[in-house]
Amino acid sequence: MPRIYGIILIICSIIQLVEGVRILLTDSKNVSITTNPKENKNKKNVILCFVLMISYVFLIRYIGYVICSSILMTCLCILLLPKNFKSSKKIKIYIFVFSVVLPLVTFLFFKYVMHVPLPIGQIFSL
């Protein structure tokens, strides 16, 4: 039986390949690639975002949900902040308060109301 399934998968892959090649052929004809300098900057942000998220999952095991989330949320907020807000100090204070309060509240809510214990972190549980 697994062999039959394997064959189906191979057929699927072949379909995919053929379709993929077809797409490549049709696309290369009518797609004009436009790149502008602005996009490069945004790519940097996207990569930064991924790095942030990945390091978040790495760290959550060690330093726990609350602290880790606070740090991540502050960073994400700043990443998402439009330019015209950047200079405002008030917004930054808001962001900081918001990023500390929300993880705390959700942590307590899920622990005591929903009975889902979020990770507290190894360094605290020692």
Binding site: P2, V46, V57, L80, L81
Partner: protein
Amino acid sequence: MSMFANFILGFKMILTLNCIVTIFIGVFIGIVFGAIPGLSATMAIALCLPLTYSMGSVQGMALLIALFIGGISGGLISAILTRIPGTPSSVATCWDGYPLTEKGEGIKALGVGVVFSFLGTLFSIIVLIFLAPTLAKVAIQFGAYEYFAVAVFSMTMMAGLSEKSVSKGLISGIMGSIFATVGLDAVSNVKRYTLGMQKLSVGFNILPVLIGLFAIYEIISKVEKAKIDENIVQTSINIHSVTGFGFSLAEFKSQIFNALRSSILGTIIGILPGIGASTSNVLSYSIAKKQSKYPEKFGTGIIDGVVASETANNAAIGGAMVPLLAIGIPGDTVTALLLGGLTLQGISAGPLLFVQHVDLVYSIFIAMIISSILMLLIEFYGLRIFVKMLQIPKFFLLPAIFLFCIIGAFGLHNNIFDIWTVLFFGFIGFIFNKLDIPTSPFILGFIIGPLAEINLRRGLMLSKGSIVPFFKSPLALLFFLLTIISIIFSIRSHLKRNKRRN
């Protein structure tokens, strides 16, 4: 048991303070998610699924359904007031809704939208109530052959009708099916594609996959566009001066035929696998325009357009629930999530649901009716709150959503591995979007792929390896024929579109 007795049973289950409050909150959150552009009904349900872990099956399903109904309808608020559709289901609402606002008749547009959303939902629920049990009676005779045929049919529909390109839809769907094969194989318990990882042997759960594909992708794409700040045009609306819902009885009467046509269309589109509310509103709008006596007025701000779009997108809700409850096959991403919600409760959707959990089925029906009534009231009278919600800046909203994604994924098995899954599929979603491949077929392939596989193999075991009996069963044959027709149809329409482009 008669249908009436079943309804009484359902009422008994739903009419508790807990359930009503849950539905109220669900509809409210749903409308908020629907109203804010970039957040959709799918995301609302994905993020609220963790909340149902500790609820009973009735309350949990009531919450998810309330979110569904609120989420599909909520998109009209931002569509009418700001010209940005809150969800893909309200794209066509903008075309006539926003011009109405510009004319100063925003409140009329909102009233019409809300009321006809309600009527569309109600119509589709009635269809659901009568159609689903009948279909389930047919489906209960389905064997492996028939199920396999239905699954294949759904796969081709989702690939063909989903979006721009047939091949891209197919690629996405097949990728979904491939990811679904990770883990223990359902028939013979062989480990597949686990890459030696112990944790992969249970496979990917649908919830982290969905959260990753939709929510994480949304955050990443916003990060990408963060430099371009968006200004939401704020239109102020005076709600106090209006009596009723802002439109006259004569206007209502003039729209009855339009609404009926849109409801029927929306429900049928909902029933078909692969397409749902986001297709029905545009299609219904264009049909209403074609059939209208004054097609030139469409787009300038007449209520006909709002009626056609909003009735049809909400009518797709009840339609989408039909195959989910009766056959156990979800037609779109939202019903896929509802299926996930049912599975979390240890209930498997399908024809047996109508035998083993009649009470749950009827309480779902009643929850749908109550949700739509609450949707009507909350959406219209709470309008000012939702308009305020539109102003919440994205840089507060998205990190908060990320947090809930993490909690949702973690809460599933109390396992950090699931968070990795979320990130991984977020990355896949991002790449898919860069390559212009639609993501919804991925989810459907993820769910329908294993279904097709299990039934194919069961069927082959029954027939001792021969493929012939698959084509001997009349029902299966019918679905195979439908499959071929749908493939031909979608390829033809694809070719036509290509020609037009050239």
